[in-house]
């Protein structure tokens, strides 16, 4: 059971409530919620917010591939995952990503959640432009996607 979305934060919001409703299942003995939030500093600069950019179609495709890879690599039982990532300006303290997972046993949910966020960082086409005090901003240099 899987849900993923890129959420334009000027039109909607990502919410833990929605994530919780999605992964609820009597077959699962464990669930885990991960949220990524905008922190107040990076590289000795005071961060006021981050603008996230995304190639929506490729992001959703990537999320699905990551989910399927997790099931086969981690041999998950009764997996469920809810992944939403923000697109647009997220202010300091705002939520950029929610990963909610559920499985039969507790050990699997930690592996499952970690696998998803680490793979997103490696292969999902999302970009960050940090905004700093003083109105400067900068696109962060990320990882090259392998061709």
């Amino acid at each position: 059971m899987f849900h993923c979305e890129v959420v334009d934060v000027s039109k909607g919001e990502i919410s833990l409530e929605k994530a919780q409703k999605f992964i609820e299942s009597q077959k699962c003995g464990a669930s885990l919620f991960f949220t990524g939030t905008v922190r107040d500093h990076n590289n000795d600069k005071t961060v006021t917010g981050i603008t996230y950019d995304a190639h929506d179609a490729m992001v959703k495709k990537s999320f699905s591939e990551i989910y399927n890879d997790a099931i086969s690599k981690l041999k998950l039982e009764h997996p469920a995952a809810f992944v939403e990532h923000a697109k647009g300006y997220v202010p300091l303290g705002g939520t950029s990503v929610i990963i909610a997972v559920a499985c039969k046993h507790r050990a699997q949910v930690y592996e499952f959640s970690r696998f998803i966020i680490e793979e997103i960082k490696k292969r999902t086409p999302i970009w960050k432009k940090e905004h700093y005090e003083g109105e400067n901003s900068k696109w962060l240099e990320g990882k090259q996607i392998q061709k």
Partner: protein, 89 residues
């Protein structure tokens, strides 16, 4: 042949639009498109070496949302996306 190049991340700074248009007289490969983007950036932003570096480090994706290599052939009007180094989450 018209190639519309959709811009993402730092490459959005290349234009006020979300894309660049390129015209070619014959079939090309992605490596040829990359060279054209490099020429465009060098001409438009001669002071900004980071932009040129980003083009060199970027991948490209097809209309089918697949990452395509430098030898991928473009032989009809189509949209291609430039995928600079990523960093979400």
């Amino acid at each position: 042949m018209k190639i519309k190049l959709e811009l993402f991340g730092v490459c959005r700074e290349f234009s006020d639009n979300d894309f660049l248009n390129f015209d070619f007289d014959e079939d090309i490969e992605i490596k040829d498109l990359r060279k054209e983007v490099e020429k465009f950036v060098s001409k438009q932003f001669p002071e900004n070496k980071n932009f040129l570096e980003m083009v060199k480090k970027s991948a490209f994706s097809s209309e089918a949302n697949e990452i395509i290599g430098d030898d991928f052939k473009l032989n009809k009007n189509q949209t291609v996306s430039i995928i600079p180094p990523i960093g979400g989450g």
